[in-house]
């Protein structure tokens, strides 16, 4: 019987995946922008290009046939062109079968150009795969984990909306409040309403804000030497508060990881051996913390640094020195990594000492 049930579950999973794939291939009608599918590609000869820094690249022009999938022109085919380079920094080659967004080049809708590739199929399938993996390996725990992420995304979006209403004026206050809400919601979902929840929340907030305080203090003492806020990418408002806010929330997850780990392990010890001495409890907390500090720092370091790669390569190949490249592309990511690391390290003694006070243990 259970064998049969598994087959059913497998079939349902595969069906939802196939359904997602199918829907995102035929959903052109959902978009107000005209969508077409590439039905034929003809590539011209590649031309060699050498820029003023001595970089060589190949440029190719392709002639594409696009069959419209929505709008009044649905079903009709048009011919258009596209130029792509081998490096592809801001362009791409097109293949048959790809769906694309287009804009009309004239009012009579006889000429079109491609503006963007339609990518929803890829991201929907990827999200589906992650959900399936989480549910398969964790069952209901996977659902809780997904719920926690969704709840935090909602909080995050509300905060950004609020922040925009204020024209960025009280950004840091909004994110400070957000930090508290994030911490309470997430830790409540991980730990439940227990003593270790209180320990972990207080330790998380203390660790986060102390690290933030150290960051501000260092800025004052060094006169912000070396830091260029102009290097913050994609800013529609003052870059400084955005960067400071990102410093505040960047390490929050890692610090919560740590505080929930340490506090629940220590609570377990108190349950198993109620006669444990307070001092011993503190030392156990420090030992657990020491083991996880290194890998946790690495997680954030890799996230913050890998993101800077395309810009760094562009800087290097446009004749900038290593120092200039580092300052303008990697400096901010490095600062974020360091402040996060400081928060992660300082949280270890904080959690251990708070556990000693609130989880018990012999005096």
């Amino acid at each position: 019987m259970s064998n049969k049930r598994w087959w059913w579950i497998l079939i349902v999973i595969l069906m939802t995946g196939a359904f997602a794939l199918l829907v995102t291939r035929v959903n052109a009608g959902w978009y107000s922008q005209p969508v077409g599918q590439i039905t034929a590609v003809h590539n011209g000869a590649a031309k060699k290009n050498t820029d003023e820094h001595g970089n060589t690249d190949m440029q190719t022009h392709q002639t594409l046939t696009v069959k419209m999938l929505n709008s009044a022109q649905r079903g009709r085919s048009f011919t258009t062109g596209n130029t792509f380079t081998r490096s592809g920094a801001v362009d791409q080659p097109y293949r048959t079968g790809q769906q694309v967004f287009i804009t009309w080049q004239n009012n009579t809708h006889t000429k079109l150009s491609i503006t963007n590739q339609k990518r929803d199929t890829v991201i929907v399938l990827l999200a589906w795969l992650v959900v399936v993996m989480l549910m398969a390996i964790l069952r209901w725990r996977g659902a809780v984990a997904i719920f926690s992420v969704v709840a935090n995304v909602c909080l995050f979006l509300i905060a950004i909306q609020l922040e925009l209403l204020q024209y960025g004026a009280s950004m840091l206050w909004i994110f400070a409040i957000l930090t508290v809400l994030f911490t309470i919601v997430t830790l409540l979902l991980i730990l439940g309403w227990k003593r270790q929840f209180v320990v972990a929340s207080v330790a998380t907030l203390a660790g986060t804000f102390i690290a933030y305080g150290i960051f501000i203090l260092v800025l004052h003492l060094t006169g912000e030497e070396g830091l260029h806020y102009e290097a913050v990418a994609y800013t529609v408002q003052q870059p400084k508060p955005i960067f400071w806010a990102s410093i505040m929330i960047g390490a929050l997850g890692a610090i919560m990881d740590e505080t929930s780990d340490i506090s629940s392990a220590l609570a377990q010890i108190v349950v198993e051996t109620p006669t444990v001495h307070r001092w011993q409890l503190f030392r156990s907390g420090m030992n657990i913390g020491r083991e996880i500090v290194g890998p946790l720092i690495s997680i954030l370091f890799m996230i913050f640094m890998a993101d800077t790669f395309p810009m760094a390569v562009l800087y290097l190949d446009n004749g900038n020195s290593f120092a200039q490249t580092f300052t303008w592309t990697m400096y901010l990511g490095m600062v974020q990594s360091l402040v996060s690391a400081i928060g992660i390290v300082i949280t270890v003694p904080l959690t251990s000492i708070l556990s000693v006070f609130w989880l018990g243990g012999r005096r």
Binding site: L126, M133, E224, V236, M302
Partner: protein, 260 residues
């Protein structure tokens, strides 16, 4: 003194105060990984093939993260093998994502920031995407494999004659906790990294339809999802390798006993 040196100094002092000698190792590992990443970018700029370079550098970075951590020998050996295997699978998946979604280089949002630059530099940005997706997941995969492996060995030590199915059940419980918290680490890490971009999306009122097809958004989302997959896949794989090594260890011991 500039901001990075000052923060670095504070971190070094704190690490030594909290972790003692192993704090020095952790700090040294961090510096080493930074140097490795910088060399990688330089190699990309010089025209080295990004995916092969990334696979080689990742193997070294993983070694630094895993072996410089405070975990014991039998834990680190298994954690390294597991995270290496997961990293290779993720690299393959990243290649597939890039092949179908074409998320290389810079999105429309970058605008003036690259206005003065020559973009025809001959470096395959498509392969650099694969490199970024793989590298961003490395820390999370390494952390998860260390945590699951050391958790399972602890269980195996307290219950000496544990059966494989029992170990898998324990692995699921330990893994569940680790995945739950690791998801949060990743989530906030990425939000901290892309805060400016999210404000951009909200302020310019990107519709869901626009967002789900946007080059930049897709590449950030793919990064989070791929790292999550890496962490999730690490749990059963670590459990399987630990259980295999326990059975093997026992078999070896028995053989020795028989010989003696």
């Amino acid at each position: 003194m500039d901001v990075i040196s000052a923060l670095g100094l504070v971190l070094l002092v704190l690490l030594v105060a909290v972790c003692g000698k192993s704090g020095l190792t952790i700090f040294f590992g961090l510096v080493l990984n930074f140097v490795l990443l910088f060399i990688t970018v330089t190699l990309f700029g010089l025209g080295a093939p990004p995916i092969i370079t990334t696979l080689l550098v990742s193997a070294v970075i993983l070694a630094v993260i895993v072996f410089f951590s405070a975990a014991g020998n039998r834990v680190t050996r298994i954690a390294y093998v597991v995270s290496l295997a997961v990293m290779m699978v993720l690299c393959g998946l990243a290649w597939l994502i890039q092949y179908f979604a074409n998320i290389q280089g810079f999105g429309n949002e970058v605008g003036e920031d690259i206005g003065g630059f020559s973009l025809l530099i001959g470096v395959p940005f498509g392969q650099i995407v694969v490199a970024i997706l793989t590298l961003s997941a490395l820390g999370a995969v390494a952390e998860a494999s260390i945590a699951v492996t050391s958790g399972l060995f602890e269980v195996a030590d307290t219950v000496p004659n544990i059966t494989p199915s029992q170990l898998f059940a324990d692995g699921q419980v330990i893994g569940g906790k680790i995945i739950g918290t690791a998801l949060n680490t990743l989530f906030f890490g990425f939000f901290g990294s892309y805060l400016a971009l999210f404000i951009w999306f909200v302020q310019l009122k990107y519709s869901p339809g626009l967002l789900l097809n946007d080059k930049l958004f897709i590449s950030e989302a793919a990064s989070v999802l791929l790292s999550t997959m890496g962490v999730v896949a690490t749990v059963p794989l670590s459990t399987w390798v630990v259980s295999w090594s326990l059975r093997h260890g026992k078999a070896d011991k028995k053989k020795k006993e028989v010989k003696e």
